[in-house]
């Protein structure tokens, strides 16, 4: 019976497709393992919501079977990415984390998935969200301690046992049938003596706008905020942006449907939708980037640099590695002084004649080379010289290697962290967020309703998300081959070039940074006047 139920659940394509996509991502883009896994956790919570439905509870199936089926389905869905993780470990993930640690992390995510079942397992309806705060905090604290203090193998064993124990406990403590539980604040009817009138609520603006505020801040918005903070902190936030902001946006739409019946102008509704969305995503990102970096993920020179050689004859391990931001394109640009090329090999030559073969990287047929490479046999002098060149490019001034590795001397901020680049980047990010809103607004126009909703949505999303898919695909492929990220460094490259081209005036840069968001907002505003009451399927009344 449990197996049959699991089959029924797995038949829903949305459920296992997420898992498969996650597995693909982990294999192809190992650096994104953590972000992907957390995204999978969150998305599973939405697609396979916790308890049974009233329909399930009315069937002649034991409640224990239903809960067991759901628990095992979730574990199964975690298993596919886990296997992908193990497979990826044999590739480049090993450079980042050893296998026991990977298993630890997987167990922690499995526990997070199973936890919502374990609070009052016999209840049919989900307990209020606040009852889960304590268990999740405990889980985070305990897993943090285990990750930190206990050696990986022991930790993996402990956590794995915890998963098994949790499943067994939940299934065993299930009563024979589900029960609808009334939690605290669901008091119906006027069975209580009428309370004295609470006067007229003070006419402050807060009271009137509170219902709208409550509608525009559902839990995915907060979740998106948290993930954007952590993504900004780590430095790898593009995936979070797409997944979490989309999730938040969809729920925002559902929750604000009631505003359509009120006499609010299009602009008011647009702002109600756009502001929390942009604030949570962009605000979270800004806060994350502003947080001081944690040990090991410093924004040092080699952060996000390509590191794993797929071809054996490439080095990719020089002490002067820089991310793709600072690589030069080949062969169109004038080569830096001292660089020559023979065929598809680029040699970098120092003033005194020593040379090294540059690491190259080709993306979509365009070749890039690292002008600050040193070879495995280069002299110390060459390495020092290249180090100085590299730090000039990254930090704006030359730093000696000894000073760089001395932790007491503070490093200057990277050029990409200066305000001008940040302003331009911020403007672009906000513009992309608004672009995302625009894409989701298109299927809601009256013209779109002539077509089958699924087809139109699919066409629109495909057409407009094509650049995202293309970039993502390229990143994933090259990330698999070489590690490091591609999308963000390339964007930073363009931003650096733009800052160099523009005058060093704060006002000018601010104005130019503001142009893309403003254009997007105007397009969005125009589209909003054409959009209709959002609904999933045609009304049935």
């Amino acid at each position: 019976m449990t197996l049959w139920l699991m089959g029924q659940y797995l038949r829903r394509p949305s459920v296992w497709s997420v898992s498969l996509v996650g597995a693909m991502l982990i294999v192809l883009w190992p650096i994104a393992a953590v972000s992907t896994a957390s995204a999978i956790v969150v998305i599973q919570l939405r697609f396979l919501p916790g308890r049974a439905s009233v329909f399930d509870a009315a069937l002649p199936i034991a409640a224990r079977d239903i809960v067991a089926a759901r628990l095992f389905t979730r574990l199964l869905l975690m298993a596919i990415p886990t296997i992908a993780c193990v497979f990826a470990w044999r590739g480049s993930l090993a450079a980042v984390w050893p296998l026991p640690r990977v298993l630890e992390i997987v167990s922690i995510f499995a526990l997070a998935l199973l936890l919502p079942f374990c609070v009052r397992p016999g209840a049919l309806n989900m307990p209020p969200h606040r009852t889960f705060v304590l268990p999740f905090v405990l889980l985070a604290a305990v897993s943090g301690l285990i990750l930190w203090l206990v050696p990986s193998v022991a930790g993996a064993v402990i956590l794995g046992t915890a998963v098994v124990a949790l499943v067994a406990f939940t299934v065993a403590s299930m009563p024979g049938s589900f029960e609808r539980v009334a939690y605290g604040d669901s008091v119906h009817g006027a069975s209580v003596a009428p309370a004295p009138r609470i006067g007229w609520l003070s006419d402050g603006a807060i009271s009137a706008w509170r219902p709208i505020l409550q509608s525009v801040t559902p839990w995915p918005v907060f979740l998106s905020f948290c993930f954007m903070v952590s993504g900004g902190w780590i430095g790898d936030w593009l995936l979070y942006l797409v997944i979490f902001s989309v999730n938040a946006h969809l729920m925002l739409r559902q929750r604000t449907a009631w505003l359509y019946a009120l006499p609010l102008s299009h602009r008011a509704r647009l702002l109600a939708l756009a502001i929390p969305f942009c604030l949570s995503s962009f605000g979270g990102l800004t806060i994350g980037r502003a947080l001081p970096s944690i040990g090991g993920l410093e924004r040092d020179m080699a952060a996000e640099a390509p590191r794993s050689p797929f071809e054996k004859d490439k080095y990719f391990s020089s002490p002067t590695r820089v991310p793709l931001t600072y690589w030069k394109r080949f062969p169109a640009r004038p080569l830096p002084p001292g660089a020559t090329h023979i065929g598809r090999q680029v040699e970098v030559m120092s003033p005194w004649g020593e040379s090294a073969v540059a690491d190259t990287f080709s993306i979509l047929g365009v070749m890039y080379f690292d002008p600050y490479t040193t070879g495995p046999h280069s002299s110390t002098r060459f390495v020092e010289w290249q180090f100085g060149n590299a730090t000039t490019a990254v930090y704006g001034r030359s730093i000696s290697r000894r000073d760089y590795e001395d932790e007491t001397i503070p490093r200057p901020p990277r050029l990409v962290d200066t305000w001008s680049v940040q302003l331009l980047g911020g403007g672009l990010t906000v513009a992309s967020l608004l672009y995302l809103l625009l894409v989701f607004e298109l299927p809601l126009s009256a013209r779109a309703s002539r077509f089958k909703p699924s087809r139109f949505t699919m066409v629109t999303l495909l057409l407009l998300f094509l650049p995202v898919y293309a970039i993502g695909g390229v990143c994933m492929y090259n990330g698999w081959r070489r590690g490091g990220s591609i999308a963000l460094p390339m964007i930073e490259r363009a931003l650096l070039a733009a800052t160099r081209a523009l005058p060093d005036n704060a006002l000018v840069i601010a104005v130019i940074a503001a142009i893309p968001p403003i254009i997007m907002y105007m397009l969005l505003d125009r589209q909003f006047t054409r959009s209709e009451f959002p609904r999933v399927s045609p009304p049935r009344g």
Partner: protein, 304 residues
Amino acid sequence: MTELLGLRDVVRGFGGGTPVLNGVTLSVQREEIVGLLGRNGAGKTTLLHLAMGMLHPHAGSVRVFGLSPREHPVAVKKRIGYVAEDQVLPPAAAIGDLFALHRKLFPSWDAALERQLTDRFGLRDLRRTMRTLSKGEARQVALVCAVCHRPELLILDEPAGGLDPAARREFLETSIQLLNREGTSIIFSSHHMGDVERLGGRVVLLDGGTIRLDAELDALREQHCVAMIPRAPGLDQAAIARLPQCLRVRTVGNAFHAVFHGQPELVQWQLRDTLGVADARCERVPLEELFVELVGGERQEKAS
């Protein structure tokens, strides 16, 4: 300008295929009550959403108070009250906060009426949130929000759906009081024929994407009758359908039920005269029977 709501040749569909509304023309004047009837999926909610400006027509025009609800949404919605069965007010919002919001959005909000209605409905604790209310109470809150600003037009989309009979009756009483005191026009869709008969007025039947009937309720009942004709060899449905003034024929078991426009005695005479049917029974019927006969399905009797 006495026309409050005007739809002309409105066409609206979803996702290709046959449009749900295919050339609908409807006009609601001042101080009129219009009841929309139709089977589920006939387009009643679509029509009301079009009136509210929540949907845009693919063809034809919609005018509310002479304005297009799409181009002047705020001006239109300020003068309309809307209650729907599937209206989802934010679950975390307190009743008092919702009232405060409406007070701010509608300048013509009448605080005295709000007080009177909340007293009457027994909504004493305004700090309760929407998710703790029963269905009837939530609908009452929606009704208070919809009527306290004295709208000129009240749009009700199955307002009594899912309510117990006492709650339905209270809803009706409030609507009638509003009608009496303010002269509000009401357009409502409902499945409860008892409520439709109580509210009287015009009855509009939507079927197959168009308006099949649009008449005063009493005239409808008094000018139409249903003939129940037992099956006989040589008598087929099409022959009955061809008679003038026959609106519809359907098979029910071993008889035909036909809706005619005319007096029962005349119809009986006509049946005898034209088709030789002597044992038909013609009667005037209540609204529910009329509805079922007009839009109900066929029921074949299994050959035994």
